[in-house]
Each structure stands twice: as C-alpha cells, then as structure tokens.
C-alpha cells in the first residue's frame, strides 16, 4: 500500500516535470525561430584547445574556415597543451598559411590553455570556443552572434549534435544529444542554462574577464563558466538552430567515463555555487524554483534506477519460475489470461505510467522532428525505444555515480590527461 502511494507520487511528479518542460517547449516554438541577423558583424576570435586529437583537429579547423562568417572577421587560435603530441602539433601548424595561429601555451589542461590564449592573444570582444574533436556548422557563428545585441548576454550556447554516428553506442547518443538540445533550449528560455558546451559556445570577453575566465581546476569548465556567469548576473542564451557537431565515444566504458565526469562536475559545481544560488541578496539570474525542478528531475532519475531494476527482477523471476514449473507451452497458453489480468490490475499508477510512456515518447519524437526536420519511422522508433529503455537506465546509473562522486566523496574535479574524453 505504502509502495503503491510512493510510486503514484513519484510518477505524478515525473509526469508533472514532463508536462512542465513540454509546455515551456511549446512556448518556445510558438515564439517562432529568430531570423534576426546582425548587419555589421563584429570581429570574433575562435579558440580551439587541443591535446591529442591529431587528424580530428583538422576537421575542426576546416569547419571554422568553411564558416559563412566573413573570413577577415575571424581570428582562429589553436591552443596547444604542453603535453600535446607531435602529430597534433603538425596538424595545428599546417593551417598557418590560412592565418590560423597555433599557440604553444606551455600549460596543461583545457581551461588553462583557453585562459592562456584569452589573456595573451585574444583582442576581439567576442570569442567562440570549439573542442578539437568537434566541428562548427557553416552558419553557426553568424547565428551565435545575434543574441549578443543584448548587452546583458555573457554567453551563447549552440545546439550540439553527434558527428557521423556509426557504431550502436554512437547512434544511441544521437538521440540523447537531440533531446539535450531541446532541454537546453527550454532551460535557456527560463534563464537557467547551466552549460556553455565546449563544442561551439561563444562568450563576451569582458564577461569572461569579469568572472576571472575559466576555472582551471574544473574538468567541466563549460558547466562552471555558465553557472559562474549566471551567478554574476550575465545571461546565458541558446540558439537552437546554431549547430555544432562532436565526435562521441564509441565504447560503452568510454561513454560511462565521460558521462560520469559530466555529472560529477554538475554536482561539484552545484556545491561550489550553492551559497550564491541560494543567497537572497544575490544579483544572479539562476532561478531557485527552476533549480528545484532540475534537482527533482535528477533525483527521480536516480531513485527510478533501483526501482526499475527491482521490477525487472520480479518480472523475470516470476516468468522463469512459472516456465520452470509448467513449461513454456502452457505458460504461452495462459498469456491471453495474463493480458486480461493486466486490464483488471489497472490502477491510477498504471494510468500515470501509460501517460508517462505516451507523452514521453511523443515529446521525444516531437523534439526529434523539431531538431532534425525528418523522422525515419523504423530507425528512429527503434532508436527511441532503446533510448527510453536501456540508455535511460544507463543514464540513471551515471547520474548516481556522479552524485556519489560529486557529493559524498567530494571527488576533486581536477584535470588529468588520462581522464580526458
């Protein structure tokens, strides 16, 4: 009885969160996409920090060179780590003839390299960053510059999509990135976009200077910088149709490590800025009520994990014992009665569960259509089915890992070469 009530409350809260974000997203769509363009494009800098990316760096730099942003208004810097290997260095220097400057920073760490370039090289008021395993869409920079007409904007995030997914692990991440695009847009719409992703975000240099640049001791520096900007009163915007593309892990363990790092970083940064966020006299822009919703979403994704696991165990255990007792044929014969029984076991929880499933899947297809403009009925249905079952379970596990690391063990979120994914 108590379990039933708890499950009903949990489902109701999750359904509430789903509807809440759906309504926010509808509002975004109803506003229509901004077709605004900036007539006098300002000069911008593009900083590409690199470590061991080798030929992937070539793709990154070439994507910026192919941008429709006037070539004479972009200054591209490739920031080399002290540890960067020779091959990557050669690739970086090979673009010299296109005006790309390879900066040997003499320091290690993505944030440290970017800070070095920002402090010693960049003169432009606007600076974009691009991870060396990522590519900018041709129109990305022109679109990202638009929100900066508002002087209060400190950073603008693009929509990050998966580059050329081939393996199953990459294909499933494609859906995750698409749904993240929609969620980020919704977060930015309510003023709480807590990340300015490495693949393609643009910053106002004066805002970065004001907050003391990127935190060099933080491996989720893209999250830290967004939260820091928000707590100092700068807006962090998102342009949903400004795309960048990133190469994602093709092995499950590498993906677990990457996500574990991100979610550890989330909790670490939340703890770091908790006083500023909660302070009544803070002049920051982070809305505390939205933070409650975000934490509720994370909390439920964590507790849903053992719960779902328990029900899967109970179901498998019952089916196994039943088949072991009376055989597969008879078990199949009773299937019809089992289906009827499902109807009779219908409860408020069943309705909430079905609505969650229906609206959850609807919102995923809706997001997919909104971002990609086309849906492959078979492929995308299969992808979304795997995403909502196996991958969401995996995400719950990584959130739990991140929570334990970031809060209980308060694992130091510091940059290590070996840990970079």
């Amino acid at each position: 009885m108590l379990t039933q009530i708890l499950l009903e409350i949990m489902s109701a809260v999750v359904l509430f969160l789903l509807f809440f974000w759906l309504f926010i997203y509808y509002e975004i769509l109803n506003e229509g996409k901004g077709k605004a363009r900036v007539k006098n494009l300002p000069r911008i800098a593009m900083v590409i920090p690199t470590l061991f990316e080798g030929d992937d760096l070539r793709l990154s730099v070439e994507s910026v060179l192919a941008s429709d942003y006037p070539r004479d208004k972009i200054k591209i810097y490739v920031g080399l780590n002290k540890a960067t290997d020779e091959k990557t260095r050669r690739v970086a220097h090979s673009f010299g003839r296109y005006g790309v400057e390879a900066v040997d920073t003499g320091v290690n760490g993505k944030a440290a390299v970017m800070n070095y370039v920002l402090k010693h090289k960049v003169k432009e008021e606007f600076v974009a960053t691009l991870d060396a395993d990522s590519m900018a869409d041709r129109k990305m920079l022109r679109k990202l510059i638009v929100p900066f007409s508002d002087k209060g904007v400190g950073a603008v995030a693009p929509s990050v999509a998966v580059y050329n997914p081939k393996k199953a692990v990459q294909l499933i991440q494609k859906y995750d990135y698409i749904f993240s695009i929609v969620l980020r847009k919704a977060f930015s719409h309510v003023g709480n976009l807590l990340v300015a992703p490495g693949p393609g975000s643009m910053f106002r240099l004066s805002a970065l200077k004001d907050i003391g640049y990127f935190d060099e001791r933080n491996i989720t520096e893209d999250m830290e910088v967004a939260i820091h900007l928000l707590t100092e009163g700068y807006k962090v915007e998102n342009v949903i149709d400004a795309f960048s593309y990133t190469i994602v892990p093709d092995k499950i363990y590498a993906l677990f490590k990457q996500r574990g790092r991100w979610y550890t970083g989330f909790f670490y940064n939340m703890l770091k800025y908790r006083k500023k966020i909660m302070s009544k006299d803070n002049h920051g822009l982070i809305d505390r009520s939205i933070m409650v919703l975000i934490f509720t979403s994370v909390f439920f994704s964590i507790i849903a994990l053992p719960l779902v696991g328990y029900y899967i165990y109970v179901g498998i255990s019952y089916t196994y014992n039943s088949i072991a007792n009376v055989g597969l044929t008879f078990s199949l014969q009773t299937l019809q009665q089992e289906i009827i029984n499902v109807g009779y076991s219908w409860s408020v929880l069943s309705t909430l569960g079905i609505l969650l499933l229906v609206f959850g899947i609807y919102s995923l297809f809706y997001a997919l259509n909104g971002v990609t403009k086309r849906i492959d009925a078979v492929k995308d249905t299969l992808g979304i089915a795997v995403y909502t079952t196996l991958f969401s379970y995996f995400l719950g596990l990584t959130w739990l890992y991140g929570f334990i690391n970031g809060t209980i063990f308060k694992k130091k979120v510091a940059w290590k070469i070996a840990n970079r994914n």
């Binding site: 969160l17 209060g152 822009l285 055989g327 014969q333 009773t334 029984n341 408020v348 309705t351 909430l352």
Partner: protein, 232 residues
C-alpha cells in the same frame, strides 16, 4: 533593469507552465481513478454470471438424480466449464486488488467468490458421487502471505487440469479469507497449516508440492490419469 524584466517574464512563463502541468497531472489522476474504478463493477458482473451458472448446474444435479448417462455427461462437462470460468475469474480478482473507493465492494466480491468456489467444489463432489464419474476433485487452501511458491502450485494444478484426460476440478482458495466455512473445513479435514490440498473430500496433504510431487499425489487417486505414465 534588463535583468528584472527578464525575471518577471520568467516568473509569468513559469507560473503558466506550472499551472498547466498541475492541471494535466490532475486530469491524469482523475482519469486513472475513473478507469481503475471500472474493474470492480466488471468483476461483480462476471461473478453474478458464474453464480447463475452454478445455480443452474446445481438445479440440474437435483433434477438429474436418476443418474442417466445423458444428464451425467451434461453435469460433468458443465462442472468442468464452470471450473474453468471460476479459475479465470480467480486470477482476474487477484489481479484487481484495489485501494480505491470500491475497496469495500472488492472485499465483498472476495467473500462472495470464496463462497461460490466452495459451493462449486461441493457440487463437483456431489456430481462425482451421483454419477460415479472420474472427477478428481481438489481443494487447495493457500495462505495470503508467506508462501511465494503457492502461486506456482496453483499454476501447476491449472496445468494438470488442462493436460489430463480426467475431469480435474481444482478449487484454489485463500485460506485467510474471513468466512466461517473455511474454519469448518480446517476442523473437518484436520488442516494444521497452509498450503494444503484436500483430494476427493477424504485425503489431506499439507505443505507445498511441486509439479512432480503433485502429479504423483494425484495419480494415487486417478491411476489412468494421462500423466501418470511418467511418474515413478
């Protein structure tokens, strides 16, 4: 100023989205509650139909006391069919456990159903004796809690019922249901604990039995039972 304006806008947006989401979840709750409450009246209808069938069969048994082969054939097949219907209703009632406004009605159905099952068990026994038929009449009493395997024993009985060439009438009953006939059965058949099976109103077997054990037990009473050939 810009920031304050942005916060005000956010506040309105959030409030609207919040209210709309609360409304949607409330509708979902109301819908779920309404649908969940349909099942108890549906079960009551099924139970009423089964009770009518039982009464008709009981009347037929009274009328057919002449033991003609024609009436016995009808009674035996009727008993078997009724038993199948009651088995289905049993699993539906078990699936429909409810904590909604119909909870008291549901408990009432549980009791009515227990009486109906006991009546059908007694009727099967009566037909067996009246027609000297090959009915294997089994009553299984299981405890409400503390017997995870009981659900499998119930399944095994249903399985044997389907696989046998005998008319196996298996009546599975929650022994913890608060009705006086169960206590009377406990006294009459010396039932000391649950699960227990009572075969043909004269033999009591206490404790859980898996498929092999159950088949072996039943074969003592039905040697020509089709599954008995495999039992050593």
């Amino acid at each position: 100023m810009e920031n304050r304006k942005s916060k005000l806008n956010n506040g309105t947006k959030l409030t609207l989205a919040f209210l709309a989401a609360v409304l949607a979840v409330s509708i979902a709750f109301a819908l779920g509650y309404s649908i969940a409450n349909l099942k108890v009246p549906a079960l009551q209808n099924s139970l009423n139909l089964d009770q009518q069938t039982l009464e008709a069969l009981s009347l037929a048994a009274t009328l057919g006391q002449s033991n003609s082969s024609a009436s016995c054939a009808i009674l035996e097949s009727g008993t078997e069919a009724l038993n199948q219907q009651l088995q289905s209703l049993n699993s539906e009632i078990n699936a429909a456990q409810t904590d909604t406004t119909y909870a008291s009605d549901y408990n009432n159905i549980l009791q009515q159903f227990a009486y109906t099952r006991l009546n059908s068990w007694l009727l099967a026994q009566r037909i067996k004796e009246q027609c000297h038929s090959n009915i294997l009449n089994v009553l299984m009493l299981y405890p409400q809690n503390g017997c995870d395997n009981c659900v499998y024993e119930g399944e095994e009985l249903a399985y044997l019922e389907q696989r046998s060439n005998y008319t196996l009438v298996a009546t599975v009953l929650d022994a913890n249901i608060n009705i006086s006939p169960v206590q009377a059965i406990d006294r009459i058949y010396n039932v000391s604990s649950y699960p227990t099976i009572i075969i043909n109103e004269n033999s009591t077997y206490v404790g859980y039995e898996d498929t092999a054990q159950l088949t072996k037990t039943l074969c003592q009473y039905a040697p020509s039972f089709s599954l008995c050939g495999n039992v050593s």
